[in-house]
């Protein structure tokens, strides 16, 4: 009886059903926590859900591969979700045209800064090439960051973790920091949050102000495109960035 139970348990853990169910339960629980705390920045649903799933796997000593058997189907949807980002972009088409020059200027300086500073700081402090390349696309929206990281030689899961950490950092700290710096133009606040902290930052900006939210979503969408071009371009033209390790 006990043996049968153990066999059934192992079979269950290895079926796709397990990973999908665990992820959905953790997500729903995290959303409840988020609502109960009235959207406290630290109760970010992604962060809480990841901690819940990771704790479950570590406590019951379940290999990540078993979880991934089902979870991969959820990750798969990141592809079509990235395509779906065209919708907010389409809705903001008129706004893009009106503030076009500011948006273009911010895209160029912001995306370049993200890549150059992330790679140079990481390698200067002794991080490996792989680590630096995994950090380089972390300000873009997660599906794009993962894809970019893979295409330049980083580690996709690490990049996902860095990107989510970056987004949470932005959702928690960016609005207050911008206020401290006397940046009150909601368009600029949105651009800065979206460029640095992608979707998670955008959700916070949307709560604060509709204009900031719209510009944040815009910056996030366009930054994904620009970084996809800028990252490989900078790596090709400035390969010395990776040779700074002491």
């Amino acid at each position: 009886m006990n043996l049968q139970f153990a066999q059934a348990w192992t079979a269950l853990l290895q079926s796709p059903l397990f990973g999908i169910t665990l992820t959905l339960i953790a997500y729903q629980a995290a959303r409840t926590v988020w609502k109960r705390t009235r959207g406290h920045s630290l109760a970010n649903p992604v962060l809480v859900a990841i901690i819940l799933v990771a704790a479950f796997l570590l406590i019951f000593q379940i290999p990540y591969e078993d979880y991934q058997n089902g979870a991969q189907y959820i990750s798969f949807l990141l592809g079509p979700a990235t395509v779906a980002l065209a919708l907010p972009l389409y809705r903001q088409a008129a706004n893009i045209r009106r503030a076009a020059w500011a948006v273009i200027a911010c895209l160029i300086t912001g995306s370049t800064t993200a890549v150059v500073v992330a790679i140079t700081v990481t390698t200067l402090l002794g991080g490996s090439d792989q680590l630096a390349l995994s950090l380089a696309p972390k300000s873009t929206t997660t599906p794009v960051a993962i894809a970019l990281s893979e295409s330049v030689g980083g580690i996709a899961s690490l990049t996902a973790a860095f990107t989510i950490l970056t987004g949470i950092l932005g959702a928690v700290a960016a609005p207050r920091l911008l206020t401290l710096l006397y940046v009150f133009d909601q368009r600029v606040r949105g651009l800065a949050i979206g460029m640095s902290s992608h979707g998670i930052g955008t959700s916070r900006a949307l709560q604060d102000d509709p204009v900031a939210g719209a510009f944040s979503g815009l910056a996030m969408a366009l930054n994904a495109l620009v970084t996809a071009v800028v990252l490989p371009l900078l790596l090709a033209t400035m390969p010395w960035m990776l040779d700074l390790s002491p």
Partner: protein
């Protein structure tokens, strides 16, 4: 709704295919996003159309889709523990740099543009 999902998947398929054929380091879904943007501009779908509902549905639970990849960090805990300084410093410093540079660029550009427009306006008044 199903048609909407088909449109999203076909855009991604074409994007993936294009990226493979041209061998460019841009993710297929990003090319798919540009493609869908063009399609939306041309077709101008209503709020109730399949594409809009499928896209809105996916984006509403975008956070859910990040969870498996984020959980993957547990495989790399030894890497992170071994290199916490470059990771934390690289992440926080570059995040801060992007925020400051973007805010500075935005404020600067809008101020410059405002000055040009005001000057242009005055010149036009003088001409009349």
């Amino acid at each position: 709704m199903i048609t909407g999902f088909i449109v999203l998947l076909v855009c991604q398929l074409i994007g993936d295919f294009t990226v493979h054929v041209l061998d460019i380091p841009i993710p297929g879904p990003v090319v798919g996003m540009v493609l869908l943007f063009v399609v939306l501009q041309l077709r101008r779908p209503g709020r109730e159309s399949g594409v809009v509902r499928a896209a809105d549905g996916l984006l509403r639970h975008l956070q859910l889709l990040f969870i498996p990849a984020g959980v993957g960090i547990i495989q790399y805990l030894p890497v992170l523990a071994g290199a916490w300084l470059p990771v934390i410093a690289g992440l926080v410093i570059s995040w801060l740099a992007v925020l400051l540079v973007t805010a500075g660029t935005g404020v600067g550009t809008l101020r410059l543009e405002g000055r040009f427009k005001r000057r242009g306006g005055r010149a036009a008044e003088g001409a009349t």
